[in-house]
Every structure is written in C-alpha cells, then in structure tokens.
C-alpha cells in the first residue's frame, strides 16, 4: 500500500500520454479547465491546443497568445461590441485584425483557418493573410468591414489550398466583383463559397468555370447579381450541394426556362440550407419546391412573402428545423408555420418596416402563440413585433419550455401589454421561471424593476442579456448582477441605471466578458471609480456628440490581461487610476 502510494507520487502521468489524451479535447472551455489542474496539465494543454477562440480581441494581446500557445492552426476572433451592428459605435473605433495577423504570420505559419466577427479587416491585412500561410484553408468574415475587392483578389490569387471563403453579413461599400475572376485556372479546392452579402457584379463566366472545377463544393451562396437562368447553369454543375443561396428571382422566364430551372432544383436532393430568394414572388417561388424535402434551414429573410405564399411553401419542407421570415407573412403565415413545421426549433421574424413608416401590421402575439402550439421543440426565437401581451408570453413558454434563446423585440420603446396596458414584467418573469435552460434573453416593452427581479431570481443559466428603454431604478440592474451567476455579456441602452447600479457589479465584471451601457445615467466620475477599484478591467468611455465633461454616454467595460488599449482612437477615453 505504502509502495503504491510512493509510486504515485514519484511518477506522475507521463506527459506524452497526457498530451495524447488532451489532443482529443476540442472545447475551449474544457481545455481551459484542464489547464487549471496543475502546471503539468497547463503545459500539456498549451502544447496540444490547435484551435484558438478569443471572444473579445482586446481581452488579451497577440504577444500573450503567442507566448502561451505554440501550435495554433485555427483561430476564431471577435471584435466590436454587438451594438456596433446598429451603428452605436463610431467609425474607426478599433478591432483591427492587422496586429493579430502580423503575429500569426510570425508564430503560426501553418495556420489553416481564420474566423472573424465584427472586426475591421483591411485589404492590406487580407494581402498579408494570403501571402503568409501556405496551407491556408478557411476564411470567414462575419459582420466585418474595411476591405474591398482588392483584398479579396489577394485571397483568390494566392490561397492555393482554400476550401472556404465565407463573407457573411460583412459591410462593404463600392466593392467590385473582379476578385472572383482571380481564382487561378488550376484552383479546384473550394468547398464553401458565400458572397451573398456583397453588392457587386461578378463575372458569371468565371463563376461557372470555378464551380465546374470545384467538385467538392457543398455550399454555394451567390449574390443578387446572379439571375435564375444563371443559377440553373450552376446547379446543373453541383446538384449535390448541401447549402444554397440563390440570386435574384426577378427575371421573366419563358415556359421552357421555367421548366429548366425547376428541373435543376428538383435534382438537388441533398439540400439542407436554402437562402437568398431576393424578390421571390408567388410566380417563381414554386421553382424551389423540389429541392426542399431534406431542408433543415430555410432563410426567407430577404423575401417578403405573404401568408398565402408561405402557407403553400411550407408543406414542401417537412424536415424544417430553422426558419427565418419577414413579418409580411403576418400572424396568418405564422399559423401556417405552427401547422406545417412540427420539428421546428428556431424561428426568427424580421420586420419589413422597422421605423413604422408605412403602418404595416406585422406580427403580434397571435402568431407567436400559434407557432408555440404547433412547434413544441422551439428553443430559439427572435421576434420583432409591435404588440405583445403578458398572457401570451406565459402561454408560449408553457408550450415551449425549452427555450435557450428568447429575443423579443417589441419595437416601440416602453410599449405596455396592449390588452391590459400593464408593464411586460410578467412576460419576462414567466420566461425566466419556466425556461430553466435559458442562456440568452433580450427584453423589450414597458418594464419596471420587477422584470429584472424575476430575471435575477430565476434565470440561473443566463449568459447574455440585452436591455433597452427599461427599468425603474438602479435596483433593476443590481438584481441581475447579483442574481445571475453565469452572466457573461450584459448590454444596456437607454435605461436610467446610474453609477450606483454600475458599481454594484464591481465583483462581477471580472467574471464577465463585457458590459455595454449607452444613454444611461452614468457619469465619468462613476466610471473612474470603477476603473480605480478594478484595475484589471478596461473601462472605456466613448465620447460622442451627446457627451460632455460629466455625462458618460457610451461605456464599454471588459476584463483584459492586456491592459488598456494601445490603439484607442482619440474619442475613446480609457479610465484608470490616473486617466490614460
């Protein structure tokens, strides 16, 4: 017994064995836990990590990363706070990827994948990327900006082993389409190509040749410049696609052309994801029916269909798990969803008229209720509406208790329950109480502190909370900070929470990724106090036309190992013990 005990102490688990075991662990959370066990495990983990995930590019520096992880092949990097999607962040705020690329080029020459979200990527950076990594395979730019076709040309020209080019949602202005023609004639490795959000004309000829060469192509999402006839010619080359983003449906087809397109779609037996469909009307929408039997994700967020059109479409999509639509389908359209999509897990309803200029009805609690009755597996919802009631939401979560993501946007700020005229507190109370797996919540409508008391009391798995035009006192924010142990991201705009609320989270912010507060009741003094008490937080005040010497209109707080930003523009004030 003694001898065994001694043996255990003298010969720890051999590190090659440990490294072998750890190399099977993919999840960065698990790897983080492993690295905390002891020094040997920390070392084994750092030598075997090949995938890097950095949720906030400013939480750490390229140098720190390079020192710790010697063998990275894949990087996922996120930059700006989410509210930058809605123009709340000035231009040139930061999150420029260049410094990271310079480091990657030096330390990770075998880099294969780079996935960026909300970062600024210049043409110079894309050029550096294209030239620095001979085995580079996958580039994904989600909600990024800063590049033009020059950068894409560099990628197309120099990345010989590229398998994925995905430019989802990225904002580009005045971009040309010449980049597509830069893929060399011998280049044939592409498996995923998505340029749906680029406003440019590409050479169809070049695209057709590219598609015909790339036999392993499984996802193709073209942009609006590609018409139906051209799409048919592409589909004929790659009927085995699993993901398709069509071009524009605005084209007059002869009966013969119609048949040709229809036949091409019918031959796509493996389609799981369908999107695009710009300007699809009831006349041409049926063209795609033949491709929809195995569809699991249907993205109609660019096609303003009406209820009847949706009702005719859905019965062809018997395997549907995710559906995105525009609210032109109305409550009636959502009733059809409830009837036709029993396997549905995710629903997103986007507004055609967010600024209420045309007095469109959109959807109400009626549609949401109908979906909840027919789709018990619903776990993700994003719902834009003008009217909602507490009772409806309570019933909805009774029908669908498995929500992990509940994002309800009642578009008029401070709108009460439209039947009782009461605040929407009970609605979100019901969500918090009933949906025990809830990880992400966006609240809206007229809300008092009561709503936040509910959230703090019941939403114990909540990780992300978005709040706008809500609350009655500092206590609201305090309830959330004190009550939600797993909170990682808190974004607040146009609420009356002030310094007391901010400072009540002193101990909390280091356990979170970030806090955003804009148009609230914070002062520079209060932010300075936070910065002084918590030196490992970066407390940044973004100065804009609504700020002055006392009022802090836009505040971004995040934990960081890298200290204050070195690249902060003049309008970003980093607060510290002494201001930087």
């Amino acid at each position: 017994m003694d001898q065994d005990h001694k043996k255990l102490k003298e010969s720890p688990f051999p590190c090659e064995g440990l490294e072998k075991v750890l190399s099977f662990i993919d999840s960065h959370k698990d790897r983080s836990s492993a690295s905390l066990v002891c020094k040997d495990w920390y070392d084994a983990e750092r030598w075997t990590r090949s995938k890097l995930f950095i949720g906030n590019c400013y939480s750490v520096s390229p140098e720190i990363v390079a020192r710790r992880f010697p063998k990275i092949k894949s990087v996922r990097l996120k930059g700006k706070p989410r509210f930058s999607d809605f123009n709340l962040l000035p231009q040139d705020w930061g999150a420029n990827v260049h410094a990271w690329l310079v480091m990657f080029a030096k330390v990770y020459p075998s880099l294969e994948e780079l996935r960026l979200k909300r970062m600024t990527v210049s043409d110079e950076s894309l050029d550096l990327l294209a030239r620095s990594f001979p085995g580079f395979k996958a580039l994904s730019l989600s909600s990024c900006d800063g590049f033009t076709d020059e950068g894409l040309k560099a990628i197309a020209t120099h990345c010989r082993t590229l398998t994925e080019l995905d430019i989802a949602d990225s904002v580009t202005v005045d971009i040309g389409g010449g980049w597509l023609s830069c893929f060399p004639e011998g280049f044939a490795s592409l498996e995923i190509l998505n340029f749906a959000s680029l406003q440019c004309e590409v050479s169809f000829d070049a695209l057709e040749r590219l598609v015909s060469r790339c036999r392993a192509l499984r996802v193709l999402k073209v942009n609006e410049s590609i018409n139906l006839e051209q799409l048919q010619r592409l589909l004929v080359q790659v009927p085995h696609l699993t993901g398709l983003g069509t071009g524009s449906f605005m084209q007059e087809l002869t009966p013969r052309q119609y048949e040709g397109v229809q036949s091409a779609f019918s031959n796509c037996k493996n389609l799981q994801v369908l999107s695009g469909l710009w300007d699809a009307t009831s006349l041409y929408l049926p063209l795609v029916y033949g491709a929809c039997a195995s569809l699991t994700f249907l993205n109609l967020s660019e096609a303003d269909l009406r209820s009847g059109e949706l009702a005719k479409f859905l019965p062809h999509c018997t395997s549907l798990r995710r559906l995105w639509v525009i609210d032109t389908v109305g409550d009636k359209g959502l009733e059809a969803v409830g009837l036709s999509c029993p396997l549905l897990e995710e629903l997103r309803v986007f507004p055609i008229d967010p600024y209420d200029l045309d007095n469109r009805q959109g959807v109400t609690e009626v549609g949401f209720l109908a979906v909840s009755r027919g789709c018990p597996n619903l776990n993700y919802v994003l719902y834009f509406c003008r009217k909602m009631t507490n009772d409806a939401v309570a019933t909805i979560v009774q029908n669908c208790p498995d929500f992990t993501h509940f994002r309800l946007c009642i578009m008029n700020p401070g709108e009460p329950d439209h039947l009782t005229n009461e605040p929407m507190d009970e609605a979100f109370g019901a969500v918090s109480k009933t949906c025990t797996k809830l990880r992400r919540l966006s609240v809206s409508g007229l809300l008092t502190d009561m709503a936040f008391e509910y959230i703090g009391k019941f939403a114990k798995n909540l990780e992300t909370l978005s709040v706008a035009f809500a609350g009655s006192s500092d206590r609201g924010m305090q309830c959330v900070l004190e009550g939600c142990p797993k909170l990682r991201k808190l974004e607040i705009r146009d609420c009356l929470f002030g310094n007391a609320a901010l400072l009540s989270g002193l101990d909390k912010y280091e356990t979170m990724r970030s806090l955003w507060m804009s148009a609230c009741n914070l002062t520079i003094k209060g932010c300075r106090l936070l910065a002084k008490e918590m030196p490992r937080l970066n407390v940044e005040v973004i100065q804009d036309e609504w700020s002055d010497e006392t009022h802090a209109n836009k505040v971004y707080v995040y934990r960081s190992l890298a200290g204050p930003r070195q690249d902060a523009p003049p309008f970003v004030l980093t607060l510290g013990g002494e201001d930087i």
Partner: protein
C-alpha cells in the same frame, strides 16, 4: 370621401395624417420614454430633434436593432433617413466654431451655396468643371463617405446629398488641388 380623393399637401403615397391620429394614444413615442426615465437621463436622442409639425416619427439611432445590411430593411432605412433631416457640420477655415445644416432643405447646388454665402458672410465664385471655383476667396468642399475631401459641385446633386458627410469652406488657394482633373 375616400382618402385618396382628399387633396392635401404631402409626398405622394404618404398617408400620415389619419394614421397618426389613430395611433397617437397608444404609441409610446421616444419622447415618452424620456419622460419615464425621469432623472435627467438623456434617453433616445433622435436624428430629428428639431421641431417638425406633422411629425415623421422621430428616429432613434440603432433602434429597432436590425442590421442595416439587410436588403429587406435597407429600403426602410433609406426612407427613414429621407424623412429625418440630413444634418452635416459645416466648418470654415479660420472660423472658431462650426455650424450645422440640413442638406435636405436645399433643392440644388446654387440654393446650397447661396445659403452658405449668407450664413458665413462670404462669397463663393463661379463653379466650372475644369477649374473649380474661380475668382473667389473661398471654395466649398465636402468629406464623402470614404473620408475623401471633394469639391462641391462635381457630382449630381442627389449623389452629393447621399455621400456628403461634412462640409468645409476652404480658402480658395487651398482648394485648387481639388479640381476635377482626373
């Protein structure tokens, strides 16, 4: 009488008056949101924060939270921008503070330039494509979407309106380099 037979002043297709009346009770406007947040919080500042009579609804920046790239909402975004003002800052070389004007209020370059001459008490010369603004102490320039400094007058008025981010009245000598020679 059917609504479309009513004669009234307004943009074709706009049906604001009846709609506003019906909804004014229920709708919690951004102004109301300011009231509820009563302790001096500058809530919801809208782009449209000057007096307008039959209110185009005041736009709150970034609300509702829809991404602007969506084509389905891009039309709405453009329309919303069209209905609210298009305010740009105007600076003059040598002047201590800036002014702000709504370009939407002008129906063309000559209208805009006359207003600028009036506002800053100066004279801006004759525009020619080849030589820019000749024979004047000052020349009007603007910063476009890409951040480039451009001479006012080179592009069609509509294009100017949508790309102008800021105006700068430069001294004639400094502005010569902005001539249209390509």
């Amino acid at each position: 009488m059917p609504a479309d037979l009513n004669l009234r002043l307004g943009l074709p297709g706009s049906d604001q008056t009846d709609v506003d009346a019906a909804k004014s009770n229920k709708r919690a406007s951004p102004e109301k949101a300011e009231d509820t947040a009563s302790n001096g919080v500058p809530a919801a500042k809208s782009a449209d924060d000057h007096e307008t009579a039959p209110a185009p609804k005041a736009q709150i920046v970034g609300w509702p939270p829809v991404k602007s790239y969506r084509k389905s909402t891009a039309a709405a975004v453009k329309k919303a921008e069209a209905e609210s003002g298009m305010y740009v800052k105007v600076s003059m070389d040598g002047a201590p503070y800036l002014r702000k004007i709504d370009i939407k209020l002008y129906n063309g370059y000559s209208h805009l330039l006359t207003a600028l001459e009036d506002m800053f008490k100066l004279s801006i010369g004759e525009y020619s494509e080849r030589e820019g603004y000749k024979g004047s102490e000052y020349a009007p320039a603007y910063e476009d979407k890409d951040g480039d400094l451009m001479l006012v007058g080179d592009v069609p008025w509509e294009m100017f309106m949508s790309s102008c981010k800021r105006l700068r009245i430069m001294r004639g000598a400094d502005a010569r380099g902005l001539g249209c020679a390509q």
